[in-house]
Subunit: 430 residues, 2 copies
């Protein structure tokens, strides 16, 4: 029970932005209810911020705020450290120091875990304290704890997630209102879903970091952000989405991690998801993670993947866990080795491709010849006029990525092909 | 770690039916992987069955099977007990005895927990050992652990679940193929989804037991099966489902638990769910639980709610948890008091009702007058001819259940009303 004497559990909070402020509020609102159910009283004892003079929505007693984060992680009076600064440094050094001082750490920092997670897990294991990070992936959705604990005995085959709310919002607008990518992005920016520089979201870097963390937890190996094959959504057109819809698919940006014999595949790219797949129903800025296991079959966990209060809720769940287990060595399984990553070239999938071609006899034969020359078999082809040009749409049978990429190069080289559109991988046909 | 010396964790299994046999297989398949990740080696040391001579799909060494379940729960060599017998006795006595002998218990027994859960939780707390029951609700879907741990700091307002796969299969068939209830039930029986006597499923008893467990865990109070208001689906017609579809709804059997000030409401009944609600997309025999919390917003957990292997997967997750924590006092929050249950009469909802009436002037006025006399305000009404008769379909504004029931009695008494159809509560309009 950690605290049989009933003294409060003193929390040191690093960072007081969106998530940190929501956490302070949430602890304030829920402290009595938590105490009634768990016998633990949480107290935000110290809060490290960059600019103490800045106007804040939260009410903190004087003396709690400090600019000296390093003094919190070494303070003997602090029982648990919560890190919501984000980024690599100073978060990395602060967390290491906290762990080395025997303090369990709760973090929401995906960038840190996806890059130097192994170092931090090792430091936590060496110190015999917990490092918890539920909030680092998919915000308020319980994902890390179910993967580590509920599914501890499960052989997981694949996890596919819509883990970036910004891109899901953009794709939903493009799909449901026919907006262009630029229009939908502008709307997401106006609503505060997308940053002024949207690169991290729309080019898949954010989802890639989360994919690395999911793969590490799901397969018990060590995967870093740099291992993740990554494509974003900025080249997707409303035409691609309309064709997908006509063929019975919805376009989603997916983080996909798979266990393949003794290797793992980890990738982020837009994909065509059949309309009757549970992931196809995930709209707006919601997130969802679809899990396939040998015994459990199909699971999906759905909810708010971002936002101050949903993320703070996940941090608070971890914080209560850490506080309940103060003074006890952690039992959670740890990552054991660097994963062997199977390169994207060696994976297989069905593919969707659209081409703009000259509208004259023999073009389909020339184009189809390129597919055939690279062992990519066409499942369905459609042609439609575009004035002097024509558009060809292909869905392939399952083919190797290497062969499909060679096909793309061959098509680019063909002079009857004016434009090679977005290559989309088809989920469910593999 | 519980087992630093590396000796196997000896599991005593009570019952070896569908779930028990799947668990034995799963431990067999996964023992090495579990040992690699957790340093725990699970060993099914003894298995209690009713008829040892019966043909079984699992391979058990001789000497493991016994008919003497009582000897397992008192055996000093057994570390953890798994109960998958089902029903109240002898499961109750066996679990109590196991707990009193200091053994953590994992159970999949919803009937037991929904009826005498408090007694068992008290016995576990008194003995300082874990009682885990993830598999008792929604099969392989991680639900109990997320509710107890991930959402430990969350003020939950409402949990709504499709927690019975048989009825969801039947309703899906009625909705998508226009089958009658009897046709869909017969198909479910042929496929093995429904029992020969389908009462427990179709009249909502199974969902009711699960609702009691969900309410207990979500709100930290003690709720029993007898507290649950319950209606089944056997009076739903394909016409009801067709009308619901025309109005933009899908009919689902829901287990709904709500926190209302210092009371809880716990009920199971068919409901009209808007087509764009995540629960509306849950088809066939899948289960899903939709959770609404103050900070986390909306969550949904989706997957296989039944079946040997999915259920065994949940049991195995609990078993690894119990094995990891051998010798350590549990930290999980406990139920604290008997809940105050708000009676269904005092709840409010929007309602759907269809009536068969005589087709003559003044009927709508007479019928509408009954609604008005009981303070039930009509939001939308539709009339269609049925030969000499007419059908009236109503959707009300939010009204109190007591007033709606009085309206039903008034309508039954009206001689222009030939038949009062199924009353369905509308989700999302309250």
């Amino acid at each position: 029970m950690g605290r049989v004497n009933g003294s409060p559990v003193k929390v040191g909070l690093l960072g007081c932005g969106n998530v940190g402020a929501a956490l302070v509020d949430l602890i304030d609102e829920q402290a009595d209810a938590i105490a009634a159910r768990t016998s633990l009283r949480l107290e935000v004892a110290r809060v490290a911020v960059h600019s103490p003079a800045k106007e804040r929505s939260v009410d903190l007693e004087s003396g709690i705020l400090t600019t000296d984060a390093a003094s919190i992680v070494t303070d003997p009076a602090i029982d648990v450290v919560v890190e919501v600064i984000g980024g690599i440094e100073p978060a990395r050094t602060l967390i290491r120091t906290a762990l080395e001082h025997g303090k369990p750490v709760v973090t929401a920092n995906k960038e840190l875990l996806a890059n130097v997670g192994a170092e931090l897990h090792d430091a936590a294991a060496a110190a015999g304290v917990q490092l918890l990070f539920e909030a680092s992936v998919a915000g308020g959705i319980p994902l890390i704890r179910p993967l580590r604990e509920s599914l501890a005995g499960e052989r997981l085959r694949r996890v596919m997630g819509i883990v970036n709310g910004t891109t899901n919002f953009i794709l939903t607008r493009m799909s449901e209102r026919g907006s262009s990518f630029q229009e939908a992005l502008a709307e997401a920016q106006t609503l505060g879903y997308a940053e002024r520089d949207p690169t991290a979201d729309v080019e898949g870097f954010d989802a890639g970091a989360k994919a690395a963390i999911i793969a590490s937890v799901a397969f018990g190996v060590h995967v870093v952000a740099g291992d993740v094959y990554r494509e974003g959504i900025s080249s997707i057109t409303s035409a691609d989405i309309a064709f997908a819809a006509r063929l019975g698919y919805v376009v989603k940006l997916l983080a996909i991690v798979e266990s393949l014999d003794d290797e793992v595949a980890v990738r982020v790219h837009p994909a065509m998801v059949p309309v009757d797949h549970p992931l196809a129903t995930v709209r707006e800025s919601f997130n969802a993670v679809f899990i396939e296991g040998d015994a459990v079959g199909e699971l999906m966990l759905y909810g708010r993947g971002a936002g101050g209060r949903p993320t703070a809720s996940a941090v608070l769940g971890d914080l209560i866990d850490a506080a309940s287990n103060l003074g006890r060595a952690p039992t959670a399984p740890r990552e054991v080795a660097k994963a062997r990553i199977r390169p994207i070239d060696e994976l297989s999938s069905q593919y969707y491709l659209n081409l703009e071609v000259a509208d004259r006899p023999g073009v389909l034969a020339a184009v189809a010849g390129v597919f055939g020359a690279h062992d990519v078999s066409i499942k369905a082809a459609e042609q439609e006029g575009l004035g002097d040009e024509a558009r060809l749409i292909f869905i392939t049978h399952v083919a190797r990525e290497r062969d499909m990429q060679a096909t793309l190069r061959g098509l680019h080289a063909l002079d009857v092909v004016d434009r090679v559109g977005t290559l989309l991988r088809v989920i469910g046909g593999d």
